[in-house]
Amino acid sequence: SDEGSGGGSGGGKDAYTVGVANFLLSGPYFSGMDAAIAAQAKTKGNVKIVSTDAGGDAAKLAANVEDLLSKNVDAIIISGGPLESAPAALNAIKAAKKPAILVDRKFAVGEYTSWIGPDNEAIGKQDGEFLTKRLTGGGKVGIIKGGPADNSIGLARTNGFKSVLSSNSKFTLVEAPDFGNWGSDGGLTVMEGLLAKHPDLVAVFCENDAMCLGAQRAIADAGKTGQIVLAGVDGQAEALKAILDGTNYVVTGLNSPNVIGKLALDRTVEVLGGAQVEKDTVVPSPQITKDNAAQYLNS
Amino acid sequence: MSLLLRGVRKAFNGVEVLHGVDLEARGGDVLAIVGANGAGKSTLIKILSGALPMSSGEILIDGQPADLRSPHDAHDRGIRTVYQELSLVPELSVTENLLMGNFPRRYGLIDWPAAHRKARELLERVGFGMIDPRARAGRLSVARQQMVEIAKALVSEPKVLILDEPSAVLAGSDLDALFALVRELQRRGVLVVYVSHRLVEVLDLATAIVVMKDGKVITTTEPARTSEAELIRLMAGRQLERIYPPRRPVPGEVRLRVDGLTRAGEFTGVSFELRAGEIVGLFGLVGSGRSELAACVFGAARPAEGSGAFRSPQDAIRHGVAMVTEDRAGSGLVLGMTVRDNIGLTTWRSTARGPLIDVRRQRRDTAGMIERLAIQPYGCASMPVVQLSGGNQQKAVLAKWLLVDPKVLILDEPTRGVDMATRVDIYRMVDTLARAGLAVLLISSDLTEVLGATDRVLVMNQGRLAGELRSEGTTEDQVLEKAIT
């Protein structure tokens, strides 16, 4: 490890090592988060990043945190992804008297120093409200979930979306029975299945943009581009482009790993500097439509 | 102890191969079963051992009907069997193969030192003391493995010992040890059921001889009342004038020259020539290095010092050399494939039409070979080769190699498990091929065969060529002397 690292938190040093414990890097959102944290660290000049990937294994995450602690990092940022909680990892960090900063995923149980992330239910609501306004005639709306069933981030988004539409009698909601696994290929297959049973959809909500991009392909293949509009979550570049181009991809809610990652690193450095910080910070998730997509695409 | 079989029938996939077999024997008998390849000997034995269920019929032990549903049932009644195909667990030690299921224990755990001791005692008691009980079974030569199989059957002092072609892979003193063992068991009142194609030993050992043909018992006789020639006639259904065709070789050009071939620990400084038109025997005791030498010449084993060995089997075949190995299950056949595919293995590429296998030609060639070598049963071309009887499997191996039209043919124990009539056919065929210019190296542990079927004999002794003898006029003792001293 670096010279100058070591010692507990607080007491402003001139150089820090920050560990990043990713639960699962193999998704554009999570790898974007990891990259954003590293990029922000570079701008600081005195922060070194050590990043780990648990490959979707909770015990490995705990192990990685332990490895980081044994390298004597000054703080640990946990990008928990679909993981609901990691009490053991949090306990280990606490026992080592280091700050634990959570990004994106707020753990249900366990003690942490600070959390920075989106309000997933709000993003879903936002999409629902947009569609209500746009589809004045109502109709049948499909929902594509990422899965697995214990993923509460996706659940929050869908619940938010449903809470808006189910109170409106003009809409009927159909949930695809299988999961899209958060990828474009999964979104495509699930959409194909959905279309076979419900050819009369007017809109589709996906728990993230990657699945929506796949669903958009399936809709195009079925020749229903004019009939079905799509609403996603995340603000993935390809989705922004599709929205900007005026396709049937009409809305998404920004859940930018860049913004969150940057804030998280800043927050970590603040904590290490001894500052008192806000415990939970919700990063706003602006609605992105054709009108404002250009602004986010280039940022 | 008495054993009585009544009307035993057996069908595989609707095809009946045993058509009502009756047998009777009692403790102290050595009951020999003889018959052509595919006559149903092994099938009968498997039924008697509980390894195969019969379709109908009855087995009575001491007058009581015995329901042998599994090998376990047979064991319980004191019936132990050595099957035709070797079936040791190659990864495990000799001890473990011997004592499987009967380990000496201490505090519930296997007591390994005691187990090894027990295994050694057992091996010594049955006359196979030369085998190291700690050795891995797969590392032993085929002959030694066979001895372990026999010893294994004797672990629990059986009342009935069934031996399916036990002598096929044995020679010399090993063979003597086996005979001594059979006589000793007989003396102790054990019923020994003995299957063999070696009629001389059958006449020597048996108290009763059962001749099977096409799934039926056609005669039951005694050694004193019959002869080798009569048995052959009964089995084959035809008279055989002579076993070995008369040879008048006119050796032509040199087809294979091996010079100073050496592989550490296996053979040293071996040099010989094979000429077109001659059949050369290679005799030696088990473990004298013959098979390793042949494998090396053929390019199947890693190269050695000296010259004359091929780089790879491809290389050898390209130069017109073919080799029938001694272990048909391990390296001669693909057991799960059909007979046709097995026979076609060597010629798929050379006879292909464009990128495709010439299926019509394959069918024709296979059918020709099946007829020429009388491979049984009828319609076997599309049967998995594993369903053939042992001797017929051996013929399939031979067929595969004859199809490449070789200039040099190396035969390692080619008549192992082959019945007398077919042997005669094979000798005649090899003779005919040799007359047409083929050079043959015949490796055999059968002294009569090695002298009868060849023109000259090379004798190997502990990895060295100990001498060369003309076959004609040489006695078995003269060959043995060179092989042993």
Binding site: L25, S26, S31, G32, A35, G147, A149, P177, D178, F179, S184, D185, L188, T189, E192, G193, A196, K197, P199, A210, L213, G214, R217, A220, E238 | N13, G14, K46, L52, S87, F298, A300, S312, P313, Q314, I317, R318, M323, A329, S331, L333, V334, L335, G336, M337, D341, G344, L345, T346, W348, R349, P355, L356, I357, G379, S382, M383, P384, V386, Q387
Partner: protein
């Protein structure tokens, strides 16, 4: 259950018949209980959805026949896809696709060399390849790549009449591959190697070269599947293809292939693919909830292999 042994020209076709009946039964149940099943859309979906598993299953079959296994196919799908999508910016589309497929071939050949030349266990070699190639896909691009050229989507969406072009490609692979296995010296040799490699070696056939060939074919199929998948979805993700190998292997085994090698057929593997795709499709059409889908899928697979299992002849000889 009694087994009726049926023979046609000396071959035992009992299993094939049972298997065909099973597929017919699945289809009949589907057609009579779900009105969506026989719709044009659903049938087209079925045809498309069998492409990836189908391609991977054929390649896997060839490897399984040698007695090996290829766990790396899912990662190769990802790598070939992302490389193709990445190259489209600089190269003509067909060239980019060829490079993608070539990468699959290269990985396959590498697997083959490690297995054949260095005699390493196929499971571990291809497991290591799974990890390494997945890593390389991410190294190539951490983020998804979506080529803007609309021509990129052509391959994945073109139709030849009512049948998707990619389905025809897959069927062609099975057709050519079936002939390869049944009628060419190389194909038969591959099967024989799985039965007894030593016998094949002594028959003068270069065993190593054929093993390398088998893995190369699997790599080719995975590369092709990756390119097709990317063109179909329009976006290449480095994370695609996780656990794809399991379905491919399941298809082969459901279709009667033995993981010990030496037994299996293109027809069978294709049937296995059909069964898997039909099960998925049915569960979706019935709207079975995702985790019950998982429960049922497993149970149905067990039922399927129970029905179609061969009555393997028990024999003392049988080592095969």
């Amino acid at each position: 259950m009694t087994t009726l042994a049926v023979k046609v020209r000396g071959r035992d076709v009992t299993v094939e018949i049972a298997f065909t009946l099973l597929i017919v039964a699945l289809v009949t149940v589907a057609a009579t209980t779900s009105e969506s099943f026989l719709t044009q859309t659903n049938l087209t979906n079925l045809l498309k959805q069998m492409v990836t598993t189908g391609l991977l299953a054929f390649g896997m079959l060839v490897v399984i026949l040698t007695g090996g296994i290829d766990l790396s196919v899912g990662s190769v799908v990802a790598f070939a896809g992302i490389v193709t999508a990445g190259l489209v910016a600089d190269l003509p589309i067909p060239v980019a696709m060829v490079v993608g497929i070539a990468s699959g071939i290269a990985f396959g050949a590498l697997n083959g060399v490690l297995v054949a030349r260095f005699e390493l266990a196929p499971f571990v070699v291809t497991l290591a390849a799974l990890t390494t190639i997945r890593g390389l896909a991410f190294v190539y691009s951490e983020v998804p790549i979506s080529p803007t050229d609309p021509g990129f989507l052509w391959l994945g969406s073109a139709m030849a009449g009512p049948i998707p072009l990619i389905t025809i490609i897959m069927l062609a692979v099975f057709g050519v591959g079936g002939v390869f296995l049944a009628r060419t010296p190389a194909g038969r040799s591959i099967i024989a190697i799985g039965g007894n490699a030593e016998t094949v070696r002594l028959a003068g056939i270069n065993v190593r070269r054929h093993i390398v060939l088998a893995y190369t074919i699997s790599g080719f199929c995975a590369g092709l599947a990756g390119v097709i998948l990317t063109s179909r979805v329009g976006i290449a993700q480095p994370s695609v293809g996780i656990a794809f190998e399991l379905d491919a292997i399941a298809a082969c085994v459901i279709g009667g292939a033995s993981l010990a090698g030496g037994r299996g057929s293109a027809k069978g593997a294709f049937g296995g693919v059909l069964v898997l795709v039909l099960i998925n499709n049915l569960l979706n059409l019935y709207g079975v909830q995702s985790f019950w889908q998982q429960v049922l899928k497993g149970l149905i697979i067990i039922a399927v292999i129970l029905v179609q299992r061969t009555r393997r002849p028990r024999s003392v000889k049988g080592r095969a």
